[in-house]
Symmetry: C2
Subunit: 341 residues, 2 copies
Amino acid sequence: MKKDRTVPTLEDVAKAAGVSTATVSRCLNTPDRVVKETRKRVTDAVEALGYTPNFGARMMAAKRTHTIGAIIPTMENAIFARGLQAFQEELHRRGYTLIVASSAYQPKLEKEQIRTLVARGADGILLIGHERDPDIYSYLETQNVPVLVAWTYSTEKPQISVGFDNRLSMRALAEEVIRQGHRQIGVISGESAGNDRVSQRLAGIQDALNMNGLSTDKLRVIETSYGIDEGAAAFDKLMDADQQPTAIICGNDVLAVGAIHRAQARGFRVPEDISITGFDDIELAKLVRPALTTVHVPHHQMGLKAAVTLADMVENKGSQSSYEIETSLAVRDSLGPPTQT
Amino acid sequence: MKKDRTVPTLEDVAKAAGVSTATVSRCLNTPDRVVKETRKRVTDAVEALGYTPNFGARMMAAKRTHTIGAIIPTMENAIFARGLQAFQEELHRRGYTLIVASSAYQPKLEKEQIRTLVARGADGILLIGHERDPDIYSYLETQNVPVLVAWTYSTEKPQISVGFDNRLSMRALAEEVIRQGHRQIGVISGESAGNDRVSQRLAGIQDALNMNGLSTDKLRVIETSYGIDEGAAAFDKLMDADQQPTAIICGNDVLAVGAIHRAQARGFRVPEDISITGFDDIELAKLVRPALTTVHVPHHQMGLKAAVTLADMVENKGSQSSYEIETSLAVRDSLGPPTQT
DNA sequence: ATTTTTTATGCAAGCGCTTACATTTCCAAG
DNA sequence: CTTGGAAATGTAAGCGCTTGCATAAAAAAT
């Protein structure tokens, strides 16, 4: 049963402090425009009544919310956690509140979430990856809400991005795999539909093949949703095919870990019998046995830079531009040369 | 440069559709109270203008936001991810939006976040653990915002909770450790200050000791913040002390994994030389070698139940009550009998 | 055809806050 | 003392939406 105890308003505070609502408002927002003694009376009243300004009213009157929205595909795995944490910390430092929503990799849900965030008055929005219904971008433009795209980097898209070049990063990894002598390569990828990061990574693998004069025909690609179990299942599919690969490149660490796990369960030695690589370098990568060879992404740095950039965009500080985060190869134990047979 | 293209309002839509604002509003909120033909005109206008209702205005006028806020200690590790995902999914199903904020284990920040969420009109709030400044609870009561406490269960506290009994769960684990023959037991715990879940778990270990007629004196406890590296560091402290333990009970899986990793790096065999246990049963637990013996917490179920309960609380559906989630022991490989010396 | 009932729509009053502008107060200088 | 101007405070007009009530239109009953 909701008690009908009424929530105190600005006016209540004003009355309690014996001043006008304008003064109270000023106390809260521009304290130096109010004489010290009055201020004290007001803050006391605020304290006594347990007053919290009503955000909706404030938003209406002031047109700024100091809120940034972020929509990530999932909270379930660690991929976004670290970067987002840094993002949020930096925003907080700058006086912004972060609202996070997850779209579960569903474009439709994402669209809905974006509208929700805008309606909630997000001053700016962080999105993962470029690829989505163009309507969304035009909508955001209509609404006058700046967008920053992260976890990917491209100067060709109209949106500003802070992230890394998925294609190049993956190409570097793939080249290393090839350099080690692998010719039969399997790929466990995320779903490429509507996900430019995934398709970029795929393209990167093909680039590496092409550059080494290898045909991309023998490349067996399994697309699956992200997850440990999915990685394991994809591993099975790959290994139960006619031509067993000697190396498997995975779209991310989570898939790779799943694959390694399954490989070991089935008695394969990694990397002697089968090499497996990941992407992201989440904490887990160092911890599995064998430690995962993967692409290291400086998530913290990315989150930080994204926060700075987006805040500046919101605050209209000159024109921001895209920023590329450099990845590096984390060469560990899960990749080795193929055993001759 | 922000273009001054103005964002369309309800009134613009009304004008475009040739109806009153009231009708537009009804179209959006109670479509069946508007005749089909009018509705079409309105929805078309909404579409054409790219209209999104202003949340602040709505909140002011309607006093309901269909928003639930959740404050978790951290997004950085997987402990809360799974449960929260389930929580959010169920809420979404019921037409609520979830706003997540993380407090980084800082009570002060948490307090601030709570105020922010309330100001933003959260209809209800999810908090982790009971222990916090009582002011917060009375504030929430003043504001008429229902709170649900999760990740812990207690019928003794005034707040409704959905979670598990940390003390009992940990006791069960500790008993198993003792049963295996361990007498020198080390503990790597989270920081117990202001964190009832941590202190409950600690108490659970002592209970187990007491019940088996063992003194709690020899129990060496290291408190540290959660993290892989922290777990590793704590392991060092424990093992470099005079009396080396034969088993280490960790406050959560993350700490345990860190400890295992360090143990192995230092040449200890787990569990032959040293047993290590965790708590939570995050995905990682199955994947490390040796697989972690830990307490399995059905996070998904907990998130789901929390969502249902909190939504009902918000909607005033009778009086909700606390709900206990049953944990179970996940006995795997990181715990074994001590080797005789 | 008229009256009653039902259904669809419009009118307008707020919701709690910010802020431009008006007013009062204070203090220094004349 | 005045007086002028700066500083502090007050007044009141919205911000965009929902909703109770009034009104109009349509349907049903007489």
